[in-house]
Symmetry: C2
Subunit: 151 residues, 2 copies
């Protein structure tokens, strides 16, 4: 079974937790064994968002996950990169894993959006889903679906 890792940084955006659940469900349907690595605050929101652990079976702390991370441990990396710190995490995980990768970049501010998108593009060969979005998840969801079809 292929393994996917979803990376969640600080959950400032109202779209992050819902989109994380959505991504986990989609990848599980594509037969990936899915793990979500997140910061403590993102993790609390996930717990509240999926109280029966119906969508997300495997959760881990982003720092301990990074400590034990090895080349080829996962087949797919999906990272939410809507902050400096989140984009940095994605780039770090990408270079250790060296696997197929998708970065979800979303921001209200078009200049910040471009900055995070460039940061990921200059430092990785990940597929990038960049959307000017805050609380409407639809453009992000549609573009993410399209990238998954190309995998």
């Amino acid at each position: 079974m292929k393994k996917a890792l979803i990376l969640l940084g600080c959950p400032e955006s109202p779209s992050q937790t819902p989109m994380a659940v959505y991504a986990a469900q989609k990848l599980a349907k594509m037969d990936y064994d899915v793990t979500v690595a997140s910061t403590p605050s993102a993790s609390k929101l996930l717990e509240v968002s999926d109280p029966d652990e119906y969508y997300i079976k495997n959760k881990t702390d982003i720092e301990s996950c990074l400590d034990g991370l090895e080349l080829n441990q996962y087949d797919l990396l999906v990272g939410f990169a809507h902050k400096d710190a989140a984009a940095s995490y994605f780039i770090t995980f990408y270079h250790i894993l060296q696997c197929e990768a998708i970065a979800l970049v979303f921001e209200k501010d078009p200049e910040l959006l471009e900055e995070f998108e460039n940061m990921v593009a200059e430092n990785t060969n990940a597929k990038i889903v960049a959307v000017r979005a805050f609380h409407n998840p639809t453009p992000l969801r549609v573009k993410f679906d399209r990238v998954l079809e190309e995998l």
Copy 2:
């Protein structure tokens, strides 16, 4: 079977969608038939957040719900009131339904928090769960659980 209505306004806060799912799950476990009435943007986030409709079975648009609303149609009203518009919706629904009601008031800014709390307190006899919160849902969850135990 008792019927509960959960009201969702504009989803600016990252806690709203996760807490809406949490509230729906808790109330369903308490044998309520739960309906969620929400604005279009809140509804899109809910769909992404629960793609298999595992937690939320009944969804409706907040405006059409209001149009058909009648006295005693629901036994419990739970409203997220973290904006002017959301607090106004809650007050309007409260006075039509005249049922037991819980307002969840959360805001980063302590002055706005107090303003929304006072707005609900002056206009309804609802139980109020007011928490200074943005992306940590735990204080809101803990206080909400406590209020549910008193029902």
